[in-house]
């Protein structure tokens, strides 16, 4: 058997087509529009990245010149270094926070639902709101530093927001606040899906709680960990709103990220070719994460199918 449910015997081709026109329209038009826009938009942007387009798209071929111009610019270099730092720090810390929260919530504590709601609510809020709020809290003249000063500890210093070297960490903090709950939700689902009989067997074998976590539960979580890391990386690579609202790339260009560079090139400096090249570079960075993940998923599935 296959699942070919739609192999209808055809009548006269024309009447059949007319009769089924509405369903064709409703299935095909949206799906085709969606698929076509993805393919054509991606190809078009790639094409533009090889043209000398500035204010308006123009035909022409400049080879990799836009790419070399982008990668040679200080703006992009800082953005790229920031992405490496922000991406790894944010992904590691939010996964770790999520895992710890999940393990704590897994201890059958009272008020689990309430706590889970608290850790997850930032996900319902826009990055613009998150960024704005954290820009206030981290502003040394307004937020935490000011509060501590007012309380009498005047030598206290927490001015990362205006510190060129530390400003990127404010984005890490806000991003962790926003999305650790997501990692927690996935990890908690993973913890809860461990076969209860296996845990009982381990208890009968005399294993204590720490050993059960270390030897049995946590090892079973690694596929989920990969998923969490990939999704958070995907988010990190395309971070835009959060930085826009929190630091707007500043101080100076200290918290520049690739997505901001793209926007800057395309819509503020009207260098479409270079903007497109930067966008394609973003896609390439994303692919270095997604392609290995896709390959890994494929192998996992093949193995599961054979088992």
């Amino acid at each position: 058997m296959t699942d070919a449910v739609l192999t209808r015997p055809g009548r006269s081709a024309a009447t059949e087509l007319v009769r089924r026109l509405p369903e064709y329209l409703l299935i095909w038009v949206p799906l085709l529009l969606s698929a076509a826009h993805l393919v054509s938009f991606a190809l078009w942007t790639i094409w533009i990245s090889f043209t000398p387009s500035t204010l308006v798209p123009v035909a022409g071929w400049v080879g990799l010149r836009n790419y070399t111009a982008v990668t040679a610019s200080r703006n992009w270099q800082i953005a790229f270094d920031n992405l490496l730092l922000f991406g790894s720090a944010f992904v590691l810390l939010s996964a770790a926070t999520g895992l710890i929260l999940a393990i704590l919530l897994d201890q059958r504590i009272r008020g689990e639902n309430l706590l889970r709601s608290i850790f997850l609510y930032p996900l319902a809020v826009s990055f613009v709101v998150t960024g704005t709020v954290w820009s206030w809290l981290l502003n040394p003249g307004l937020g935490i530093q000011k509060l501590v000063h007012d309380l009498g500890w005047t030598s206290f210093k927490f001015d990362w927001l205006i510190d060129r070297d530390m400003a990127i960490w404010t984005i890490v903090i806000a991003a962790i606040w926003q999305s650790s709950g997501f990692a927690m939700a996935l990890f908690l689902a993973g913890l809860r899906s461990v076969d209860a009989d296996i845990i009982k067997a381990a208890q009968i074998d005399g294993a204590g709680p720490v050993r059960i976590y270390r030897r049995i539960i946590l090892p079973s979580l690694w596929p989920i960990t990969v998923t969490v890391v990939v999704i958070q990386l995907q988010f990190a690579i395309s971070t835009f709103d959060l930085v826009r609202a929190l630091t707007n790339g500043g101080p100076g260009i200290a918290t520049q990220l690739p997505a901001l560079v793209v926007y800057d090139l395309m819509f503020q400096r009207s260098l479409l070719g270079r903007g497109a090249a930067a966008a394609v570079l973003m896609l390439l960075i994303l692919l270095t994460v997604l392609l290995p993940y896709a390959a890994w998923r494929y192998v996992q599935r093949r193995r599961a199918a054979h088992a």
Binding site: L31, V39, I118, V125, V128, V129, A189, A279
Partner: protein, 285 residues
């Protein structure tokens, strides 16, 4: 390991989760309190503090009073813009995604796997790759700087998610149900309407919540394709911060932030279970 005894270790656990929860709630509490403090009071002290006087007027000012650029209509027009984009785009993308998901999961047609595969790639293609083409398309069809343009974008791009959600839900429906209905003489739409749709409650809630939250919170397209009075509320908030940079009005701004976040927060509070299901469903793509 999972007992309910109150050993010291359990007190530690409660202490730890309470601390983290407090830290997670703090930004919300701070903003809510600030929204009730006068601008002067905040300027004198810090952003963090208890209101000396309840300044409810902040909300009135935020809603319809303060000025962004030349217009002094508060956040209201931008909230309306966001609603006028989010609600139709949510409905369209969910409906079309449900039909598409139904078609690719329960009816086979030539090339369905290809189309479906390409559509789901939309989950991964960065927005930056689509900014320029959308600019040109919107300009050519005369929808640049219109809410309709944003509805169009969010409907088409939302299809990637809605089709995936619905398809993954519908593949679990037994094919025999469709076969039985076909022998009974029902066609594509009747089967959808009478058999599939009545079973779709949970997935439609998940999809609607997900789409609403995402479109409401979206910023990049809003700020790129609309200006001035046409902007959605996320873009307006950024414009507001820039506009008040010289004379900060943190009380009013806090109220504006609360108002802008309220629709999605309410949805989260009311449909938390479905919200989380959407999150994890999106993750296991």
């Amino acid at each position: 390991m999972r007992d309910r005894s109150f050993a010291p270790s359990r007190i530690l656990i409660y202490l730890a989760v309470s601390l983290v929860a407090a830290a997670w709630l703090a930004p919300l509490v701070v903003v809510v309190l600030n929204s009730l403090r006068s601008n002067e009071e905040i300027a004198q002290a810090s952003m963090i503090g208890w209101p000396r006087q309840w300044a409810w007027s902040n909300y009135a000012a935020a809603w319809s009073g303060f000025c962004v650029a030349e217009t002094c209509a508060g956040i209201r027009p931008y909230m309306l813009n966001s609603a006028l984009v989010t609600i139709p785009a949510t409905i369209f993308s969910t409906m079309l995604g449900a039909i598409a998901g139904y078609a690719v999961s329960l009816w086979r047609f030539r090339g369905d796997n290809w189309i479906y595969g390409i559509v789901t790639l939309g989950l991964f293609l960065p927005q930056q790759m689509r900014l320029l083409p959308w600019t040109i398309v919107l300009r050519d069809i005369g929808l640049i700087n219109t809410l309709t343009g944003l509805v169009l974008i969010h409907t088409i791009q939302g299809l990637s998610f809605t089709t995936l959600f619905c398809r993954n839900y519908y593949v679990a429906i037994p094919h025999e149900l469709i076969r039985a209905a076909r022998i009974d003489g029902a066609g594509f739409f009747r089967i959808f309407w009478r058999i599939i749709l009545p079973l779709s409650g949970p997935i439609l809630i998940v999809t609607v919540i997900w789409q609403f939250t995402h479109i409401w919170n979206e910023f990049l397209y809003g700020v790129t394709f609309t200006t001035g009075q046409q902007q959605p509320v996320t873009a307006a908030l950024i414009a507001l911060s820039a506009a008040v940079a010289d004379i900060p009005q943190h009380g009013v701004q806090s109220a504006a932030v609360i108002i802008a976040a309220l629709p999605t927060l309410l949805i989260y509070l009311l449909g938390g279970k479905y919200f989380v299901r959407g999150l994890t469903a999106g993750a296991v793509k």
